[in-house]
């Protein structure tokens, strides 16, 4: 074990790493917001929505949950241009992440909805609330409060999964590590730094989500 560490060689590329952090942050902010929105819509469609919507939504959820994220990403980036839909690598990555998180989070949110007692729906209806009001106030909010920890975990998983977006030339943190490695062959140091960056980002994201949960749902979100 005579390996000599040279982290200086990695920090020569600090601008690349900083850009990587910005890009990964953009990916997760957009991916999480759009993904959870898609998830809520799909959970609604599968539990309360019109019957005609259920089959296509179920097909989407199962398709995404049973295929690799990398393949979904390649399909969007390399495949769709053949149909005339050309997305930039950032757009393709955001779309893939939103679709992916949408499918997984819809199942998590659905579980929260299913766990809500029927009596609550009926109580809402008996107060002359519209179906949409019942869904929003009586069903969704307690459901989200119940599954918030699981949803937070899924968001962090998707954030870490965004590392594969470097495959379509998105210049995120993992791209930065691979780029540094290809320039000075300091693979070990480059990936150690990338690992620490991802670890820090995941911990910060988790903490942020916990604070949001407390803010929205009070003590019931643990």
């Amino acid at each position: 074990m005579a390996y000599r560490f040279d982290f200086g060689a990695v920090f020569d590329y600090t601008p690349v790493l900083l850009k990587g952090i910005v890009v990964t942050t953009e990916l997760i902010v957009f991916g999480a917001l759009a993904g959870v929105a898609v998830g809520i819509a799909c959970a609604w469609a599968r539990t309360q929505g019109p019957r005609a919507l259920r089959a296509p939504v179920t097909a989407y959820v199962e398709l995404i949950r049973n295929t690799p994220f990398l393949i979904q990403l390649f399909f969007i980036f390399f495949g769709l241009p053949a149909l005339g839909v050309s997305l930039s690598e950032i757009q393709a990555a955001c779309l893939a992440m939103a679709l992916n998180l949408g499918a997984y989070s819809s199942e998590i949110i659905r579980a929260g909805i299913v766990a809500t007692h029927r009596g609550q729906f009926e109580a809402g209806a008996s107060l002359a609330m519209s179906r949409m009001q019942v869904f929003r106030h009586v069903i969704l909010t307690p459901a989200l409060a119940r599954i918030w920890p699981a949803l937070s975990s899924q968001i962090v998983i998707v954030m870490l999964g965004s590392a594969v977006c470097s495959q379509i030339s998105v210049e995120d943190v993992s791209f930065a590590a691979a780029f540094i490695q290809s320039r000075n062959f300091r693979a070990f140091e480059g990936y150690i730094v990338a690992t620490l960056i991802y670890l820090a980002m995941a911990l910060i994201l988790r903490q942020l989500l916990r604070m949001l949960g407390r803010h929205w749902f009070g003590r019931s979100a643990r």
Partner: protein
């Protein structure tokens, strides 16, 4: 005892070292009526096994051309890239036509003819993207395989507002180019030829070179007659277009004018 052994070795070594420099390889092979040429066996499109397991490729066609012009029979000797030069030094072959580039170490031990095949890294793209030099990459997207020679060199010379997209491997780079995610592709001319051969809607034409290291025919040192003859044949083949036809056949592009 030890010293005598050493002396023997020295004499033996001197004899071996001198032997390649024999009288005149051109006269010898004319007398034998056959020329032995080392060609690649695993480096398409320059040389690989054809459907009937006989070698085919750019280098094989050049070997045939040389043998025909010399008026002798051709004996192809398939070689790998590591043993090309030893085959020549030990007189197992008369010429090496094996997509060999020139470098200082090789020039110490063998001679080189004029260039006979283009081998370069460059930027390629469809006809409607107007680029002839690196400055014009401004505002364009170029795909490249991360960490490749093209990536390193292009990153040094490309203007700041050129958008270089780096992919994991050649497949990613090629897919990005063919699907229109990048306007141009920076790669080797052999890979560009392979894309071209598949006849895609976007044909990669050469825009400009990044690094040029053409192929030369290798022969033993101190063979001025053979060297002159080979160079004459190459010069004539460049003039009458027969070398360009070989280039068109295997690399999908005519011979560059400055080769």
């Amino acid at each position: 005892m030890k010293r005598r052994n050493l002396l023997k070795f020295a004499v033996l070594f001197a004899a071996v070292a001198i032997s390649p420099a024999h009288a005149d390889a051109l006269a010898d092979l004319n007398k034998a009526g056959v020329i032995k040429i080392a060609v690649p066996q695993d480096f398409p499109p320059f040389g690989s096994a054809g459907p009937d397991l006989k070698p085919v490729g750019y280098d094989i066609d050049v070997a045939k051309l040389i043998a025909t012009k010399l008026g002798v029979k051709l004996e192809l000797v398939p070689v790998g890239s590591a043993n090309r030069v030893p085959f020549l030094q030990t007189n197992k072959v008369d010429l090496v036509i094996s997509s060999m580039g020139k470098n200082a170490e090789r020039e110490k031990v063998i001679d080189f003819s004029d260039a006979y095949a283009p081998f370069f890294n460059g930027v390629f793209g469809p006809a409607n993207v107007m680029v002839t030099k690196v400055e014009q990459l401004a505002g364009k997207t170029v795909g490249v395989t991360r960490g490749s020679v093209e990536d390193i060199e292009l990153s040094k010379i490309a203007p700041a507002d050129a958008s270089i997209k780096r992919y994991e491997d050649n497949n990613g780079t090629i897919s990005a180019f063919l699907s229109g995610q990048t306007q141009l592709i920076a790669t080797g001319n052999v890979i560009a030829a392979a894309i071209f051969a598949r006849n895609p809607p976007k044909k990669p034409e050469t825009k400009f070179l990044i690094k040029n290291s053409p192929c030369f025919i290798g022969l033993n040192k101190n063979e001025p007659a053979l060297l002159a003859k080979v160079n004459d044949i190459l010069a004539a083949a460049k003039k009458d277009g027969s070398l360009s036809a070989i280039s068109q056949k295997w690399l999908g592009a005519a011979l560059p004018a400055d080769l």
